[in-house]
Amino acid sequence: MAMRRDSILSRLDWWTLGLYALLAIMGWCAICGASYDYIETDFLDFFSPSVRTGKQAMWMLVSAFVGVILLFFDKRIYKDWAFIIYALTLLLCIVTIFISRDIKGSHSWITLGPFSLQPAEFMKFATTLALASFMTRYGFNINENSNIYKCLAIFLVPMLIIIGQRETGSALVYLAFFLVLYREGMTGLVLLSAISCVLYFIVGIRFSEATISSLPTNLGHYWVLLLIQFFSICMTKFWCKNSATALIMLIVNSLVTLAAYWTAVYLITFNIIYVQYMLLGFNVIYLLLNIRLRKEKRNLWVVLFVLGSLIFYNSCDYVMHNVLRPHQRIRIEVLLGLKEDIVKAGYNVHQSKIAIGSGGVFGKGFLKGTQTKLKYVPEQDTDFIFCTIGEEQGFVGSTFVLVVFVIFILRLMALAERQGDTFGRVYGYSLASIFFFHFTINVGMVLGIMPVIGIPLPFFSYGGSSFLGFSILLFSFLRIDADRDVRA
C-alpha cells in the first residue's frame, strides 16, 4: 500500500470533527441552561472563570489544544507506547485511591492547585490503547482461551481498580469492551447471553409487581417469556440459519400469543402465562424434532438457551422473593432504580422525569426551564444534564441531540470499519462502544428506564476531566484514522 504524504489536515475526518464540535457546543449550552439561575446576567458572564460554564469553556479550549497536539503523534507512537501509557495510568489510578480526599465517598480525585483531575477518565484511553495493541499482536486469535483471558484482564483490571475508587458507575463502562470483542470474533452467544440475562433481570424485577390489566398475569413474568420466545426465534433465524423453522415458530408464537391475549381480555379471564409456557414447550419440541429429522444440530444450542433462560429467570425470581429479606430486596430494587422511592434514592429520577416531561413538544426555551433552574434535579449539570435539554428544548430538541449523538457513534463505527488493520479497528470500536455505553446508561437513567448509575454523558455533562478524557480518545483516533493506510 502506497504511503500518502498529504498534509494531516486533508486526511482528517472532518465529519467526525464537526459532529464533535456540534456536540460540545450543544453540551456547553445545556450547562448554561443548567447553571443559569434567573439572576439577570449578561451573556458574557457565562465565560467568567468563576462560574461552571466558564470553567467548562476553559476545559474545552484545553481539550482542543491537547487534541491538536495529539494529532502530531502518528499511529506508530500510539501503538508502541500503548503498554507504557497503560501501566502508568494504572499506577496513577492505584495511587489515587490512597492519596485522594474523600469526596462523597469516592476516592477518585487528585487535586492539583485549583484543578482536580479524575485519572479514571484517562484510564479508558489507556485501556483502549492497550487492548488495541494487544489484539494486533502477531498470531492473536480471539478464540484461543489464553488470548481471551488476557483481553479480559486488560480491561477488567482497571475496572476493579476503579471499583476500588468507589466509582462503580465508571467501572461498569469497561463492560463496553465486550462489544469490541464481539466485533473481533468472540462468539455471539456470550453477548446474547449477557444481554438477555440483564434484560430478564431488569424486566422481570421492574414489572414484578404489575399485572396485565384485569388479568391475573404477572407483567414481568409475561414479558420475560415473550423475550425468550423472541430471542429463540431470532437465534434460529440468524444463528442457526433455519429460516423455515424460524418462520413457523414466529407464526405459531405470535398467533397463539395474540389469540390468548384477546381471549383472556375479552372472553374468559385466565392466566395467559401458561399459554406462553406451552409455546416455549412447543418451540423446544419443534427444535428437537428438527435436530432429528433435518439434522439441524445448532438447534440444540437454542434449546439450551431457552432452558437456561427459564432457569435463570426463575432462580432470580426465587432468590429475590424467597432468599433475600425484604429490606435487602428493596435495597436492590432501589439500587437498580426499579422502586419509585420519591423521597430518597428515587428522587433524582422522579424529578428528572418531571423536568423532561414538562418540556413538551418544543420545550420552554433556552434558559427558560423552571425545574432545572430551581435545582429540583440534583446533579443537573453533570449526570442529569439531559434533563435540561429535555426541559428547555422539548421533544424536538432532545430527539435532535439523541440523533446527532447516535450519528456520531455510527460515524465512529464506520471509521473503525474502514481501518486497514486490527489496531485501528479495535481502537475505533472501543471508542464507539465507550460512547455508546455512556449514552445508553446515562440517557436511560435520566429517562427513568435504566438503573441510576452515575456516569456522565460525553461532551454534555459538566466536568473537565471527562471532557478532556473523551477528547483525547477521539483525537488520538482521528490521527489513527488519518494514518489508516499506513501499516504499523
Binding site: L179, I356, L374, F395, V406, M413
Partner: protein, 617 residues
C-alpha cells in the same frame, strides 16, 4: 480466513442495529414523557410555582349617617410548608413566639392530625399560628431567616368601632372543608363571612384575591417573580356596605334592653331600611377579635340566653293585641264591619258558654275606641261575623283561607327576605291546618284567639315592625333590609319594589285613627311625645309564664319617619316595657336627641331587670 473476516464484518450491522434500537427506544420514551403525558407538566408547575395569594381588604360597613362601623385591622398568620422546613431550631422558634416546647409539640401534633386538619400535606402551607398582632409579628420577622420553610401571611381581621349590633354584622371565620369543596374560590385558610351580614354579603365584601406567581427552588426558597410578574393579578378590595342602621339608635336600643330578653326592630317605612335591630341579650362584637376570640366565643355560645342568636328575625312569638290591627283592616276591606259598626263587650266576649275576658271600658263601642282600648271582644265578634258570613260560599274554610291570604299579604307567615340569614317564618294557620286538627267540627269560636294575636299565630319581631311600617305607608311595604347601598353596585331589586297588601288605603286611615287615639287616650299613653304625632298599639301576649310586653307604632302620623316594634319577653303589659322603649326610640330618631325627662326614663328602664329564673345566684 477471508470468509471469516467477511462474516465478522457483518457483525457491524448487529452492533449498529443495537445502537439504533436503543435510540428508537429512547425516542419513544421521550415521546411518551413529553408529548403524550400531561402529568409531568402539572407536577412541574406545582414544584416550581408558589402561588402566593394576595388577600384583599374586606369591605367596610358604614351606618346611615356615614359612621364607620366595621373595619379591618392587620394581623399575621405564621404558616409553614412541612417539606420545606429544614434544620429547625425549635427552641429558638418557641422563644420567639413565646411558647413552651410542650405547646409547640401539641400544636404540631394537631396540625399533623388529619382529624383536626383534613387538608394536611407536607407540600402545602399549613397555618402554624394565626392572628398575631403587629408586635408579635415584628419579633418573629426579625428572626424569620432562621426558620426555613416558615412564612408569614398578612391577613386582616375584623374590628368594630362600636360595641353594638354584633349579631347583625355576624362573623368572619376560616372557611369550612365543605365550602372549599363546593366553591372553587376558596382555599384552605381563607376567611369567609359565617353569619349575619358578613355571610349574606360575602360576595361583595370579600373582594377578589390576587395571585403572585413566585418561583420556588428545590429548597423552598423564593427566587423571584415568574416572568417578572406578567401573570400576577392584583387583589381587588372588597366593596363597602352602607347600612340603613342608625348606630346611635342601635346603641340606645341595646341599652334599653339590658337585663331583658327580647327584640327591637325599627324600620324606615318609606324605604324598608332597618334603622335598628336589637336582639337582647346582645354582646360586644369587639370581644370576638384577635387571639382572645376563641375563649370569648365559647362563653357566648354556651350562654343559656343565646346572645349569638338574632331573636329579631329568628324568634317567633304570639303578637298579642298588635295583631288586632290586621284584623280590623281585614274586616273593613271585606265589609264585615264599617268604622261605625258597634260590638258589645260584656267584660269580654261571650258566645254561648264560651267566654274570653277583656278589661274595663265602655260598651258597646265602634272601631276607633276599640283599637284605642284594645277591646278583645270587638275583634272576636268581627271574626265570628266574618266566618259566618254568607258571602263565602265555601263557608268557614273559605273564610279561613281568605283570612290567611290577608295575613300573608301583610307579610306574615312567610319570610320577608331580610338580608341576613336565619329568618323564621312565623305561623299563620289555614283551613287545612284546623281541619287536620278538628276535622270538620270547627268554627270561628274554635279558632277565636287568632283574632287577638294568640293561639296558633306567631310572628317574628321583624314581621311586627314591618307591619307597623305597612300601616305607616297606608298599605304598602318595602321588604325590610339592612344594607342600603353597596359600593359600585346595587342592592337586590326586591328591596326596591313596594309590596301591596290586600287592604285599601281608606281602611288604613281608619285604623291609624285608632292607633293615634290609643296614644292620646288609650293603652299607649306613655308613647305620647310632645311635638310628635305618634301612633301605636300595645300588645300583651299571653304566655305560660308572665305575659310578653309588646308595642308596635310609628311616627309621625303624616309622612312617617320610623316604624318600630318592641318585644320584651315576660315584660308584662305592653305599656310596661314596650310602650316606653318604643317611644324613646321614636323620640331619639325623630328629634336626634332625648329630652332630659326621656333621658331619666331611659336610665330607669335600662336599670330594670326582668328575672327569668336562670340567673346565677
Amino acid at each position: 480466513m477471508t470468509n471469516r473476516k467477511f462474516k465478522l464484518e457483518k457483525r457491524k450491522f448487529v452492533l449498529a442495529g443495537f445502537v439504533l434500537l436503543v435510540l428508537s427506544t429512547y425516542i419513544v420514551r421521550l415521546f411518551n414523557l413529553q408529548v403524550l403525558s400531561d402529568e409531568y407538566k402539572s407536577k412541574a408547575d406545582s414544584n416550581a410555582f408558589y402561588k402566593k395569594t394576595i388577600y384583599p381588604a374586606r369591605g367596610l360597613m358604614y351606618d346611615r349617617n356615614g359612621k364607620l362601623l366595621v373595619y379591618n385591622q392587620p394581623a399575621y398568620d405564621i404558616t409553614f410548608v412541612p417539606r420545606n422546613v429544614r434544620n429547625l431550631d425549635t427552641l429558638e422558634l418557641c422563644r420567639t413566639l413565646n411558647m413552651t416546647r410542650e405547646e409547640f409539640d401539641e400544636r404540631m401534633a394537631r396540625i399533623r392530625n388529619k382529624r383536626y386538619n383534613p387538608g394536611y400535606s407536607t407540600y402545602t402551607e399549613q397555618v402554624f399560628m394565626s392572628r398575631l398582632s403587629v408586635e408579635e409579628f415584628a419579633r418573629f420577622q426579625e428572626k424569620m431567616f432562621m426558620f426555613a420553610g416558615f412564612y408569614v401571611q398578612k391577613r386582616s381581621i375584623r374590628q368594630y368601632a362600636y360595641g353594638a349590633a354584633g349579631v347583625l354584622f355576624g362573623d368572619v371565620g376560616e372557611v369550612s372543608q365543605k365550602k372549599i369543596e363546593s366553591d372553587p374560590y376558596y382555599t384552605r385558610g381563607d376567611y369567609i363571612g359565617t353569619q349575619g351580614l358578613e355571610s349574606s354579603y360575602e360576595a361583595a365584601l370579600r373582594g377578589k384575591k390576587g395571585v403572585e406567581m413566585l418561583l420556588r427552588d428545590a429548597y423552598g426558597r423564593i427566587q423571584g417573580n415568574y416572568r417578572n410578574g406578567e401573570l400576577d393579578t392584583a387583589a381587588v378590595r372588597g366593596k363597602d356596605l352602607k347600612l340603613g342602621l342608625d348606630i346611635e339608635l342601635q346603641q340606645l336600643g341595646e341599652r334599653l334592653m339590658k337585663n331583658k330578653i327580647g327584640s327591637i326592630v325599627a324600620i324606615e317605612p318609606s324605604t324598608g331600611e332597618i334603622l335598628c335591630m336589637v336582639s337582647a341579650p346582645s354582646y360586644d362584637p369587639r370581644l370576638l377579635v384577635g387571639r382572645q376570640r376563641g375563649e370569648n366565643h365559647k362563653v357566648l355560645s354556651q350562654d343559656k340566653r343565646k346572645p349569638l342568636m338574632n331573636r329579631a328575625v329568628m324568634g317567633t312569638y304570639p303578637p298579642g293585641s298588635t295583631f288586632k290591627i290586621s284584623q280590623a283592616l281585614t274586616f273593613l276591606q271585606e265589609d264585615i264591619i264599617t268604622p261605625q259598626t258597634y260590638f258589645p263587650c260584656a267584660d269580654g266576649f261571650r258566645y254561648n258558654k264560651f267566654k274570653l275576658g277583656c278589661h274595663a271600658h265602655s260598651s258597646p263601642l265602634p272601631l276607633v275606641p276599640a283599637i284605642a282600648t284594645s277591646c278583645n271582644s270587638y275583634f272576636c265578634w268581627g271574626l265570628v261575623r266574618m266566618f259566618s258570613s254568607k258571602k263565602y260560599e265555601g263557608g268557614v274554610p273559605e273564610a279561613m283561607d281568605l283570612w290567611r291570604d290577608y295575613m300573608v299579604s301583610m307579610g306574615f307567615g312567610y319570610r320577608l327576605g331580610i338580608d341576613i340569614p336565619g329568618e323564621a317564618r312565623g305561623m299563620i294557620p289555614n283551613a287545612k291546618y284546623y281541619t287536620r286538627h278538628y276535622g270538620n267540627y270547627w268554627n270561628a269560636v274554635t279558632v277565636i284567639s287568632i283574632s287577638i294575636g294568640q293561639g296558633e299565630v306567631t310572628l317574628t319581631p321583624l314581621q311586627i315592625a314591618n307591619f307597623a311600617a305597612t300601616i305607616a305607608n297606608r298599605g304598602t311595604y318595602f321588604p325590610p333590609h339592612l344594607v342600603s347601598e353597596i359600593e359600585n353596585d346595587t342592592i337586590a331589586s326586591k328591596y326596591k319594589i313596594p309590596q301591596s297588601t290586600m287592604v285599601g288605603r281608606e281602611a288604613y286611615e281608619e285604623v291609624i285613627k285608632g292607633m293615634r287615639e290609643a296614644v292620646l287616650g288609650g293603652t299607649c299613653r306613655a308613647a305620647n311625645i310632645p311635638g310628635i304625632e305618634v301612633c301605636g298599639k300595645t300588645g300583651t301576649a299571653e304566655n305560660r309564664g308572665k305575659d310578653h310586653s309588646v308595642f308596635m307604632g310609628f311616627a309621625p302620623m303624616e309622612n312617617p319617619k320610623i316604624a318600630v316594634a318592641v318585644y320584651v319577653e315576660n315584660g308584662g303589659f305592653g305599656a310596661v316595657y314596650g310602650v316606653p322603649i318604643g317611644a324613646l326610640l321614636m323620640e331619639k330618631y325623630i328629634n336626634g336627641t332625648l329630652s332630659d325627662e326621656s333621658l331619666k326614663k331611659a336610665a330607669e328602664i335600662e336599670n330594670k331587670r326582668i328575672y327569668y329564673g336562670d340567673e346565677e345566684r
